[in-house]
Amino acid sequence: MNAAPNVNPSSVPSVWSSVAALHWLRTQLFSSPLNTLLTLLTLWLLLATVPAMVDWFFLNSTVTATSAQECRKVTGACWAVIVEKHRLILFGVYPYEEQWRPLLATLLLLGVIVLSGVRRFWNFSLLLFWVIALSAAAILMWGGVFGLTYVENSRWGGLPLTLMLSTFGIAFAFPLGIVLALGRRSNMPAIKTICIVYIELIRGVPLISLLFMSAVMLPLFLPEGLTIDKLLRAQVAIILFAAAYMAETIRGGLQAIPKGQFEGADSLGLTYWQQMRLIVLPQALKIVIPPLVGLFIALFKDTSLVVIIGIFDLTQAAKAALVDQAWRGFSIEIYVFISAIYFVFCYSMSKYSQSLEKRLATEHQR
């Protein structure tokens, strides 16, 4: 008798048990009455939704329709509206002929983000790349030098704006977060209190309230005559918001560093900043890389909130595309399109963070 376990050779023909797929089916989907019930329920759910969605997405959809009237004749999705509006959604109201500039800026930012993911570049040169990419992106977007026409930032929009809000947000919130985290762990009561109050205050209120604050309160804070434009104010709000969350994540990493490391550094006679820079932070930051990537994803999604104060990011650009009278009634298609854009970014970041977590974890294994 060399039958597989749990298989009664008399009731199951030997051909069946040899078929791997059937074996898989039996163990994975129909191993118990409850499991069978769950499988059938899920299958029913899938059958009720998936075919209808496939119909809508692909089979009954149209990409080539030239007008909204043509689109209304089909029962599925009207992807023609995306074809028609993609420039508006991706680049907002940036001057049409100049839209290669935001495209190039987007690619630059994406490039530096991807570069940051490669471990070979995790050294000082990365900082240099970031400075170059961010300034190049700013020059491309603004123009005014090297023969590029000047484009004021109220005309920026779409994907580059979303990317800029999040990359600048991360780039500036990160150092601020480190300082706040160190401050919260400081032995000096006054500095500790200031940091705790800041972190808890920011984490206790929604981002919207900070954005509102940047939109209506910040102008009142500044001396008369000095004005900062709306985009920069929103960017400041995002940086201040993200810094509080980053501080808490980094603090988690600092807490995980054994006391011996601090004492060892002390016994070497290092100053506080040398200790942090050379011994504590490199270890602490490495521990918190996965949760930091999680924060970056959250921040990327949160930049969509600037819609509420009327900044022309990807989401707002989508809403602008909906307004056109000639193409009314295809909101779902447009929302699905930008959802897909957000999804691609966030999903690849989260997959990256998972693989990183695995790689970093193996390093500690002996």
Partner: protein
């Protein structure tokens, strides 16, 4: 007996006022930091007061007692444009609390089910749940809210051709109509339920004490279910069995009777629940996975049956891991409910936004928003910290 005395008492080092003394440095740094913060604060307040006086804006909360003059779409207490701003803001607070509490409730239920299902042995269930989690948590909540709102407003038919998925429930572009229960019996039903809950708690204490003293186990679960079902029914029956179902009906162009979930509320609730449940599922999954396999096996070796292993061995340990991130998810729902302003559900932020547009009292309005959310956030975290401490591992 040896009596060793130190030959010389170590002399405390003399405090010197020098830059090399860390205490002196600490004091200087702190004074500088406080001076910087206070100075910046004073500068901002000074600028603000100056700007306000230039623009002729009065400060203070006097505007709260003035007539609001705008209508609010829905609320738990009545509101007319003739009411004060104060009442408008109360309506907003109640609306925020309503959507946040319901959101927490449903997201916890859905998230827990999906989190457990992701650990299922069933490939199909596992995969479907993973896809759900990955899709939902990687699309911004705001976009999901727009999406649900558009689906309810634009693609649903009018009231006359409303979808009718089950008796008494209608889905149309006016929202979702549901039947409600009302009558005197309802109060008694609730009284009965409260009584049953109290009885169950008392019984649990007694059963636990008896088990500690005599070792006898009391079948609490069955008795509790019986109590929870019977007591309200009894109360309702004793009170004269007055209870009627208010079913919505199509009258003319709209529905009458029953309860309406407006498209705004329904979209916000759907969005919050679906988005947050994906995160809660991950929290629950990692919590259960954090319990070592050895715990299951050891409990099995003791001959404890599976359902009890889950309740007595695994869950108490998993909860310790689950509670802190769950707290932050609850806080997130509360804060994220402020996105209501984007789809026009009259929550706190939306009402205050209207208020500050009308009155120009920007600073007061934003301070009120922040104070309200801080209060809610702090009270949720105080409660969850208390609960966390209660279930925390007691070590030596």
């Amino acid at each position: 007996m040896l009596n060793i005395k130190p030959t010389a008492v170590a002399q405390a080092p003399k405090k010197r006022l020098s830059w090399n003394n860390p205490e002196v440095r600490a004091i200087v740094y702190q004074v500088l930091a406080v001076a910087l913060v206070v100075g910046a604060g004073w500068y901002l307040v000074h600028n603000t007061l100056h700007n306000l006086s230039v623009r002729n804006i009065n400060t203070g909360f006097d505007f709260l007692t003035r007539e609001a003059g705008f209508a609010i779409g829905e609320g738990m207490i009545s509101f007319t444009p003739a009411d004060t701003y104060q009442r408008a803001i109360t309506v907003g607070v109640l609306n925020t609390l309503r959507v946040a509490l319901l959101g927490i409730l449903f997201a916890t239920i859905l998230g827990t089910i999906i989190g457990i299902a992701r650990l299922s042995k069933n490939w199909l269930v596992r995969t479907v749940c993973s896809v759900y989690v990955e899709v939902m948590r990687n699309i911004p909540l705001l976009l999901q809210l727009f999406f649900w709102y558009v689906i309810l407003i634009e693609t649903m038919p009018g009231p006359r051709r409303a979808y009718h998925p089950m008796p008494g429930v209608f889905v149309s572009n006016r929202g979702i109509q549901m039947p409600t229960v009302h009558g005197d019996g309802l109060t008694w039903l609730l009284v009965g339920l409260a009584l049953a809950v109290v009885l169950c708690l008392v019984l649990r204490r007694w059963a636990r004490r008896r088990q500690e003293q005599t070792g006898q186990v009391f079948a609490l679960g069955r008795v509790a279910i019986a109590l929870l079902l019977l007591t309200p029914t009894l109360a309702w029956w004793l009170s004269g069995a007055q209870l009627s179902l208010d079913v919505p009906e199509l009258k003319g162009f709209n529905f009458a009777g029953g309860m309406t979930l407006t498209p705004e509320f329904a979209a916000l609730l759907f969005g919050l629940v679906i988005y947050t449940s994906a995160f809660i599922a991950e929290v629950v999954r990692s919590g259960i996975q954090s319990v070592h396999r050895g715990q299951w096996e050891a409990a099995g070796a003791l001959g404890i049956k599976n359902s009890l292993v889950l309740r007595l061995v695994v869950l108490p340990q998993a909860l310790r891991v689950i509670i802190p991130p769950m707290t932050s998810q609850y806080l997130n729902i509360t804060k994220n409910s402020s996105l209501a302003v984007a789809i026009g559900y009259p929550d706190l932020v939306s009402v205050i936004n209207t208020t500050l547009n009308q009155t120009g009292q920007a600073i007061e309005g934003i301070l009120m928003i922040m104070a309200a959310y801080l209060t809610v956030s702090l009270s949720i975290s105080v409660f969850m910290n208390w609960y966390n401490k209660r279930i925390a591992l007691v070590e030596r």
